[in-house]
């Protein structure tokens, strides 16, 4: 089957994998059966090995056991666990290898495990089974959680930068760059709660992409913002890729994925349904 994909990608006019010069490449390059071949080097940056993620969800009681005190007491007496606690098997045995310079789009329906997979790669969710191996520390482009709506953009930039682990010198250095990139100008003096949703999204993207990452995981960050800002963010993702990093991108906007990624993984109900060239996977995904 490996030959088939190879042929396909060569028909598509893509270069076969050429090992880079400075990397520790073993004589037999990576198996090419399940990935496109326009990869600059053969060094893996992220290896996901038969990954299973099980989530615990609280407060998901079904109708007949909905909480009244008597039910809760009987459950306690019968020593049954809390029924509201459900285990959700979000990722079921995902395996793939990502390489330097890859920009991997992840598509799939709502609840197919895309965001969970990203969090697991970032090392923020412990695997139930299997493992994720990474080069350096992958970071999720998600500084949002640390920001506070009541505070000014100014304070939030500083807070966000520290939350990502920058030093005071780095914060001072990056501050103006973030303001310029986000394009919010004098609004930086106002609380973030006064921003329009587009402005908020721009500032968040500007903050979180200010730090250089080896492996960057982006969850729907490009969905908001106007056309011009979208162009800017795509440009920034390209820069990250070129500095030999790896980018993962989760988005519902398939056009964005097709334009920025060189490989697409289609997740369906926690499993990989397809993994390969963006055009092929997306057209298959569109068919259902």
């Amino acid at each position: 089957m490996a030959e088939l994909t190879k042929e396909l990608s060569q028909v598509n006019g893509e270069k076969p994998a050429v090992p880079g010069k400075d990397v520790r490449v073993h004589p037999n390059p990576e198996p090419s059966g399940k990935r496109p071949l326009d990869v600059p080097t053969g060094t893996p940056t992220v290896i996901v090995d038969d990954l299973h993620i099980v989530y615990r969800v609280y407060g998901a009681a079904s109708d007949n056991e909905k909480g009244n005190a008597v039910n809760a007491l009987t459950r306690l007496l019968r020593r049954q666990g809390r029924p509201q606690m459900k285990e959700v098997h979000a990722v079921k045995g995902v395996t793939f290898v990502a390489y330097h310079g890859d920009a991997i789009g992840i598509v799939g329906r709502n609840g197919s495990g895309k965001s969970t997979l990203l969090r697991a790669i970032a090392g923020l969710l412990p695997p139930h089974k299997g493992a994720v191996y990474t080069d350096g520390q992958p970071s999720l482009l998600g500084v949002n959680a640390a920001l506070m709506r009541e505070l000014t953009g100014e304070r939030n930039i500083v807070l966000g930068c520290y939350a990502m682990g920058m030093t005071p010198a780095e914060v001072r250095e990056k501050y103006q760059e973030i303001v310029d990139f986000s394009g919010i100008d004098e609004f930086v003096q106002l609380p973030m709660s006064t921003y329009s949703s587009g402005m908020g999204a721009r500032l968040r993207f500007a903050i979180s992409s200010a730090k250089t990452h080896d492996v960057l995981l982006i969850d729907e960050a490009l969905a908001t913002g106007d056309r011009e800002f979208r162009k800017k963010s795509e440009e920034r993702i390209r820069q990250i890729r070129e500095s030999a990093g790896t980018v993962f991108l989760v988005a519902h906007d398939l056009k964005v994925i097709e334009e920025t990624c060189n490989r697409v993984i289609w997740l369906h109900k926690g499993k990989i349904k397809m993994d390969g060239d963006p055009k092929e996977v997306i057209s298959a995904y569109n068919k259902g």
Partner: protein
């Protein structure tokens, strides 16, 4: 041009058979597992490197806390003042205070302010992990930063409360003495204890979801056991005629120890047999709880570091 699905499935299923296992491949390229708890000294160093985040986060929380109210930061002073007024009316005027205690207002206010610091830190600490899951699931940082930031937030609040307390104590005609220089020492010890207790309660609160409901009762019981409204010595030994060791054990509880020491410093007429110094037992207890809680707290919290994201 779409690839037959069976081909993909085959490639996935068969792609790795006969190849080296992925774990070995990862090892060869020096890739590490994404989730691994750093060794304890490394963890403490990482925490130190995050000190700017911890401080900024604490300050930001304090700023945003009052940003929606009209009086804003003034509430940082108003809250302790109003509290003091209520305690004074309730216990000093209506219940008549205690005849054995000469300066009852100063006695009560000192106890209340010192206890409130520990109580607020613990209540906040219990929510520091469970209330920040979205942040824990999005960013990398030593998780102990959160309970630490919450403690520092309370410390910033305490700096203001302490000013209010000292002003009120002076108003009850307890003039400043050189012994007041010991106040920062007591507060330092208490802060050490609070950090440790906050870390322990943060880990408990991360998994025990009922803790937040239970905590008000625990802290209220603790409040009554710590002799905030009454003198433990008078009530336990003189009134209830229990043996002296019962009172001694009650003085060993950390909150009671810190309160006692602070009262000795601030109130001239309080247990004059000891002068302005606390009894040996009290200051030994203060130091012990500070060191023990701090060490144990960090260690206990660190042990579950990689599990905090699961919720």
């Amino acid at each position: 041009m779409s690839q037959p699905e069976s081909a993909v499935a085959d490639a996935q299923a068969g792609g790795r058979s006969g190849q080296e296992p992925l774990a070995k491949l990862a090892k060869r390229y020096g890739l590490r597992r994404a989730i691994a708890r750093p060794r304890f000294p490394v963890y403490l160093r990482q925490l130190w490197e995050r000190r700017h985040f911890i401080l900024t986060y604490a300050t930001s929380r304090n700023v945003s806390k009052y940003s929606s109210s009209a009086l804003g930061q003034l509430w940082q002073v108003l809250t302790p003042l109003l509290n003091a007024a209520i305690y004074f009316v309730m216990f000093g005027v209506i219940l008549g205070g205690s005849k054995d205690i000469i300066n009852y207002p100063a006695f009560l206010l000192t106890g209340m302010f010192v206890f409130t610091y520990t109580q607020r830190t613990i209540t906040a600490g219990a929510k520091s992990i469970s209330g920040n899951l979205s942040m824990i699931r999005a960013l990398h940082f030593p998780r102990a930063s959160l309970p630490l930031a919450y403690t520092i937030q309370e410390l910033q609040q305490l700096a203001i409360s302490m000013g209010v307390l000292l002003a009120l104590v002076v108003a009850t005609q307890e003039w400043p003495t050189w012994y007041w220089l010991m106040i920062p020492v007591v507060l330092l010890l208490q802060t050490m204890f609070n950090i440790g207790a906050g870390l322990v309660i943060a880990r408990l609160g991360a998994t025990m979801r009922d803790l937040n409901q239970l905590l008000p009762f625990i802290t209220r019981t603790w409040l009554y056991a710590s002799g905030v409204f009454f003198s433990i010595q008078d009530k336990v030994v003189k009134s209830a005629e229990l043996p002296q060791w019962v009172a001694n054990v009650m003085y060993l509880n950390p909150a009671a120890s810190y309160i006692e020491w602070m009262r000795e410093i601030l109130i001239k007429t309080y247990r004059p047999e000891f002068g302005h110094h606390p009894p040996t037992m009290v200051w030994v207890s203060c130091v012990f709880w500070a060191v023990f809680a701090l060490g144990f707290g960090f260690w206990y919290f660190w042990r579950a570091e990689e599990r905090y994201g699961r919720g």
